[in-house]
Every structure is written in C-alpha cells, then in structure tokens.
Symmetry: C2
Subunit: 112 residues, 2 copies
DNA sequence: TTGGAATATTCCTTTAAGGGTATATATAAA
DNA sequence: TTTATATATACCCTTAAAGGAATATTCCAA
C-alpha cells in the first residue's frame, strides 16, 4: 500500500543522499563529480546512488566511460501531492470543527 | 544542514509509521485506538509514536488516562515546500535548456 | 490507598544500513 | 591487446532499527 512511498522517503532520509539530491538539483553529474563535491569516497557514492536509483529518484545516462546521474521529477511531484493532501485534509477537519463550534455558540446564544 | 529534514523523512520512511500518520490524518487518536486499527501491539505503537514525536510530526494531548496523538501540520508544509522546490528548479533548468537549443537551432538555420 | 486501565520503557534478539578497503567490470585510448 | 580511467560490487565490521515479551509508570475510580 504505502510501500512505494516508504521506499521513496527512506531513500531521502539519509543526510548524504539528501545532499546528493540537492546537488543533482543543480544539474546532472557523473559519480566522480558527486563524490568530489560532497567529499564522499567513490564506493559509498555509488552505493547511495544505487539506493536513489532503486527508489526511482534518479536515472542514469551512460556517457562513454562515465555514468551521468539525473534527478527524476515524478517522485517529487508524487511527494508534493502526498504532502499537500495532509495540509488539505487537516484544514478541512479544522473547518468542520469551526462549523461545529459556531453551532455550539448559536445554541449558547439562544439560551441566553 | 539537511539534518532536520532527514529526520523528518526518516520518521516517515517506515510503513507502520506511514500508516499511523495516514490514520491520524483522519483525526486525533489515543495510542490504543491506533494500535487496534492498525493491528499493531501497544509497545511498538508507542515506540513508533515516539519517533514521530521526536521528528515533531505529532503532538500529545493528555486526556485523563490516555494520550491523544495529533498530527502537526508544519512539517508537512515544510516537506511540501522542499519537494516543490525541486520541481520548480528542474523546470527552470529545462526552460534554460530549451532556450539554448533554440539558439543552436537559429545558428544552424543561419548556416543553411 | 488499593486496583485497574492506558501508555511508556526496558531488555533481548535479529536484521539491515552505512562506512572502509579491496577488487571486479566496462569503456576509451594508446 | 594492453593500459588507464570511471564506476560498480564484494567483503568485513560496527551500529542502529524494529519486533516481541515483560515490566514500570501514570492516572483515575472505587
């Protein structure tokens, strides 16, 4: 059910991967560049990228010797939609509560 | 830097906690209710709620014997903003790329 | 003040994540 | 075909997360 979303969120829940994602936001980069700019060593960088890849957060564009990692937009759209659904849902609950309170208030006024 | 966000994302990256959050979206609930509705046993429910609490995703409203857990809205607003910043940033990169391609195209046309 | 219900915490065990180092793989260039 | 560069994978180690069961804590009611 929420399996897929959990995977996406997990992929983003590590500081290093979060930094990678922020870096890729500025544009696609090969592994070596990512490692260099973030001060990570290459194997961990590859491993983190694999996690991001399996969560569909990035895609690979092979270029000769290197593999250019691109950020994908879809997961973020999905994340935005999900996150927004909370704000909306909760606001609407709030609205209903307000309506209820007004009702109470009217009742009180009648009794006065 | 991204420490706080990572914590938020981590708290949400577990299926059970995700289910708890989805459940609380429909309204505040005490621990026992959450456990019952999701088929979790009480100790794990409390533990998961603690993780959510430490990530500021929920707040507690004590009521007699029980502790009612409420979803907080702020973290979701922050998450939405963060997630949206990716879509925007990436769209604008796309736009710049399109501009560049048009430029190239013009040059090609001139040469023909 | 004792008992009971709701919740939190502790202890234990198993599993998975993350880092480091070394090695395998692939691609381009000599 | 060898060599070099870029990247992925394997192996090892340490730590932390998650579940289960038992216990402690808190608060209300009798």
């Amino acid at each position: 059910m929420s399996e897929r979303l959990a995977r996406t969120l997990f992929a983003l829940s590590d500081t290093n991967r979060l930094n990678i994602v922020e870096l890729l936001k500025t544009g696609p980069l090969p592994v070596g560049e990512i490692a260099a700019q973030l001060g990570l060593n290459q194997p961990q960088t590859s491993k983190h990228l694999k996690v991001l890849l399996e969560a569909d957060l990035v895609r690979i564009e092979p270029a000769a010797n290197r593999r250019i990692y691109h950020l994908r937009t879809e997961p973020f759209q999905g994340l935005t939609a999900w996150s927004q659904s909370f704000e909306q849902q909760m606001v609407s609950r709030m609205t209903r509560l307000e309506g209820y309170l007004e009702q109470i208030q009217d009742t009180v006024n009648l009794k006065e």
